[in-house]
């Protein structure tokens, strides 16, 4: 274990693209000042700091009666502390570390089988020699996705989460210096296939992208409103299948708008390439 950052070189993480012996911790980022003017949400604006903050725990005695319970010298301390404070701290560090290097990071979330990896395959092929990309991919088990993406970008790193249903910010912080290089502009983090849990864990990304394929219910955005309201971009995938399905894209768009009226929506088929150009143009603009 690295004594400076505690990063594990455990065998559960498989690594492609760099020589992992060249593991330089000079770039680590344990101290940071928190500032509010960063771009996020895919729209490149400064934001009004409406995210959670940790406040120092102030405690004060409350003059409450003990009608319901007898607790001797008990007192109530007001905590107002974010339960995910530790994760958020790592996420902030990651965000600033990436920002300092001019790297845009997106956290891609969907159900299993919505087409995250296929979209990444096609996207990386199209961006090759144009935008330097790296990928972190999370799955409960296997490095199958990493193998599919190998050779298509600067670096692909597979995290096997084992019993966990999501990636967390600490896992990302431990591998960032190995995953990106001086030329990296865009970092894709393909989260574990799951619409619920990954929504609760910030990773330090600039924004989240949620995928929904035409083989899923049109009403998924209202069934899983947490992720659809939190993500800035929705991508409706497998549009080539729509003519063969009893599936209404307008209905789906409406459901997305119900939970997130300002959401960017892309509609594409990774297989046929239909709709891919606007997605690729969008990515190019992100790193301009």
């Amino acid at each position: 274990m690295c004594k400076d950052c505690g990063c594990q070189e455990g065998n559960e993480k498989k690594f492609f693209g760099h020589d992992r012996d060249i593991h330089n911790h000079d770039n680590h980022h344990h101290d940071h000042s928190h500032e509010h003017g960063h771009f996020h949400d895919g729209h490149w604006h400064s934001h009004d700091s409406d995210h959670e903050h940790n406040h120092p725990e102030g405690h004060h005695q409350h003059d409450h009666s003990h009608d319901n319970h007898i607790h001797g010298d008990s007192k109530t301390v007001m905590m107002e502390k974010n339960i995910l404070a530790k994760n958020d701290e790592y996420a902030h560090q990651n965000k600033h570390w990436l920002k300092d290097r001019g790297i845009v990071a997106v956290n891609i979330i969907s159900s299993p089988g919505s087409g995250k990896t296929t979209l990444l395959e096609k996207t990386l092929d199209a961006l090759k020699d144009k935008i330097n990309c790296s990928v972190i991919v999370g799955d409960q088990s296997t490095d199958n996705d990493a193998k599919r993406l190998m050779g298509k970008c600067d670096c692909v790193y597979q995290i096997e989460t084992k019993s966990s249903c999501h990636l967390d910010a600490k896992q990302i912080s431990e591998i960032l210096p190995q995953v990106v290089n001086d030329n990296t502009k865009l970092l894709f983090i393909e989260n574990v296939g799951n619409l619920i849990c990954p929504a609760a864990f910030e990773l330090g990304e600039d924004f989240k992208i949620v995928l929904l394929s035409s083989t899923e219910g049109e009403d998924k955005p209202v069934k899983y409103p947490v992720i659809f309201s939190d993500a800035s971009v929705a991508i409706i995938t497998k549009t080539d299948l729509i003519p063969h399905l009893d599936w209404d894209i307008k209905k789906c768009r409406n459901y997305i708008r119900q939970v997130n009226p300002g959401m960017y929506i892309f509609e594409l088929s990774s297989k046929t390439g239909e709709g891919m150009n606007s997605w690729l143009e969008y990515l190019a603009k992100l790193v301009e």
Binding site: D50, E52, E57, H59, H69, H71, G72, D73, S74, K75, T76, V77, M78, M79, E80, K81, N82, I83, L84, A85, K86, N87, S164, C165, H166, D168, I196, C197, A199, A200, F201, V222, P225, V226, I227, S229, D230, R257, Q258, V259, N260, P261
Partner: protein, 113 residues
């Protein structure tokens, strides 16, 4: 079930407070779960005793308060509490709304000795 990770995270936050402040006993912990926080009350209540085992928190009562989603309309400035996160102002039908409550996932207070 990510609530176990969440409960472990909460226990670790509280244990550092307990150690730092030389707390002898914890009677009650009150948390707030927003409807859009990504956490659910029942699985969290199930996970808490598992995460708390072996700490001062294992005998503490967990109180979970649910925070509904509240939106602020950017057009007419009215605040509305919603049962479903349908982002549309019921007063003026504008879709230009901002979520002002409902994403909380916080330890509100702790009753200690």
């Amino acid at each position: 079930m990510h609530e176990l990770s969440l409960a472990q995270s909460m226990v670790s936050e509280l244990v550092s407070y307990i150690e730092k402040n030389n707390v002898k006993k914890v009677h009650q912990v009150t948390i707030v779960i927003g409807k859009l926080s990504g956490a659910e009350k029942e699985p969290f209540e199930f996970a808490f005793p598992i995460a708390a085992e072996g700490t001062l928190l294992e005998t503490a009562e967990l109180v979970v308060e649910i925070q509904k989603v509240v939106i602020l309309c950017n057009e007419c400035r009215s605040e509305t509490t919603l049962d479903m996160p349908l982002m549309k102002c019921p007063s003026c039908s504008s879709r230009s709304v901002k979520i002002i409550k409902g994403k909380e996932f916080i330890i509100k207070s702790m009753e200690i000795e």
